[in-house]
Symmetry: C2
Subunit: 350 residues, 2 copies
């Protein structure tokens, strides 16, 4: 797979150039209204919120299609996603880097792992015509140092670029893997690269040090955080609380915390989300398992979890945003993610 | 201590008689208004709610004074409590049975254990003039079978009587102690005794079987449940969820679940509550520890926890009530419990 990714990389610069020129001239037609989409508007909206550490960042997240997808189907999928995202008009698009994680728990993966198209390539090539900033995840622990360094080199002279660096996936001890701290240190050489980090409330429950990791990542250059899917309001509020207290005691300013939400339309999706490490309070899991309409119930529950967490973050004066995704590619769940995005973004004044 | 309690028991029948006659003629003056307090009114209010399994039971809870309290001080304390409770006019008064629990956790008890006056004696003797039903806790695991049986005998021919039976305290293996199941079986011989049980959400987090214990207690005759202090909304909702699901699947009706709330005015009280087994989500514990007014913050938090849990119980069509107590005898904390009782009971339409 690595060979394929490296082979695909040279397309990136060309894709980025196309992306800029296409976006600059683009006009969006949404619901019969014409939205002149000068690139500077949505791009600057996200960068402005990040630069100023504002609340209200609204993102949509997706994983790239499987590597084995045939080219025609790939074009269809990308076209659908572009159309959907133009309607939603989020501040930015998150593209995940899906890695196999054989070491995750004792349980078998509920869905088989299939490698995906490289997220950078998918974001900046297949979705090039979508003129919104892309925040691309990069699993630095899954690649050699040289790959990361040459990627940084490729960014020289480019526009501002957004990435979320992620450590080694569980159970994968690739040698020579790049430690996350080393990746942050190397990334300082790319001043136009704006970095985000992941923040995991579930990890905070067990170790009570996730807020310290966040501060360390902030010191290493992180300008925002993205959580995994939030279904457990209490653990997320606990992380927010400890983060806010440690900012206060160290006299530092917060960076935006982007809360991820994903609909859950079936017990199979639920099992997959649990396997991914997402925690569900028992009552909430019962609600999903025993609902006559799991999907509708899940987006209602996501909305109330968001309301609870957002209210608490506001009390703590922490800027929050949203990132809505579907962990499933089932049409109903993807459509529910669109509905959920609309509800949550409207709660953030969009 | 046991000898003292047994010596005190004969006073119970006389106290009960006094209690009935005093209550029958009593008039309450609350805020300048005269409330004719025919015994039947408040007594029947609670029994009516219990008999019909209604929502909205409002209780106030207290522990008896220490056994070493001198008689004059004891009269003062009882008079203050009577005055306070007349103003509050709850449906009933809960009187706890405080036992030493050397086996609770690894940590030392934050406050030293001192034996208290027997709760039956305190409720029906010292507080005899308070004409509301008393729900008296009885730790059956801490006494021989004969003591329990003779207490049941003493109830023959008396009015309806309310008690919450509790098993052996941790770390106390008194031989021959009475198992809780045996106590329930013996209590069937006292038809005028209405029993409640304890329901502990924190135990449900660890074992996920507290709802089954509740059903078994219901089968054994429990007509209501009282929780320990609720600061963890999620675990309480999880217990409610599993209880509601198991009622539905077994075709049984719920009994009222009385949710206990206690203000927390200091980190010392917080440590004591944690030692008692009360769980605090980390964010909520942070709020208490870092507030400039811990006591006021705690009653705000209790109110929001109650609102969350009560809303969920309503969705599940479970009748809930409240029981407000102060685990501390500090004046400020006792006064805060009065304020908290007012707020929560008004949310239940009082």
């Amino acid at each position: 797979m690595l060979a394929t990714l490296l082979a695909a990389r040279p397309r990136f610069a060309a894709a980025a150039a196309r992306f800029r020129s296409a976006a600059a001239a683009e006009t969006w037609y949404v619901g019969g209204r014409s939205h002149r989409n000068a690139t500077s508007v949505p791009l600057s909206a996200l960068f402005d919120k990040l630069d100023r550490g504002l609340t209200g960042i609204c993102l949509y997240g997706l994983a790239p299609p499987k590597l084995a997808t045939d080219p025609e189907r790939l074009r269809e999928v990308a076209a659908q996603q572009v159309a959907r995202l133009r309607l939603l008009a989020p501040d930015g698009l998150v593209v995940y880097d899906i890695q196999d994680e054989p070491g995750r728990g004792e349980q078998a993966r509920p869905f088989p792992f299939l490698p995906t198209i490289d997220p950078e390539v998918y974001a900046h090539n297949a979705l090039a015509e979508l003129a919104i900033p892309k925040i691309v995840y990069r699993c630095v622990g899954a690649q050699p140092r040289e790959v990361f360094s040459s990627w940084l080199d490729s960014l020289r002279g480019a526009d501002r670029h957004l990435s979320v660096l992620v450590g080694a996936p569980r159970g994968r001890s690739q040698v020579p893997a790049l430690p996350l701290a080393d990746a942050y240190a190397l990334a300082r050489a790319a001043p136009n690269l704006m970095l985000g980090g992941i923040a995991i409330a579930e990890r905070h429950v067990a170790k009570e040090d996730e807020h310290q990791r966040m501060l360390a990542k902030q010191d290493a250059g992180c300008r925002f955080f993205i959580t995994q899917s939030v279904y457990d309001a209490a653990s997320t509020k606990s992380l927010i609380s400890d983060y806010a207290l440690s900012l206060e005691s160290s006299g530092r300013a917060p960076v935006p915390l982007v809360l991820t939400f994903s609909p859950c339309g079936s017990t199979r999706t639920l099992e997959f989300m649990k396997w991914l490490g997402i925690s569900f309070p028992r009552w909430l899991e019962n609600e999903l398992r025993h609902s006559t309409d799991t999907l509708a119930r899940s987006i209602d529950l996501c909305e109330s979890v968001f309301t609870d967490v957002e209210d608490y973050a506001r009390q703590k004066r922490l800027p929050v945003g949203i990132n809505v995704e579907s962990v499933s590619i089932r049409k109903a769940e993807v459509e529910a993610s669109v509905e959920l995005y609309r509800r949550l973004s409207s709660r953030l004044g969009r």
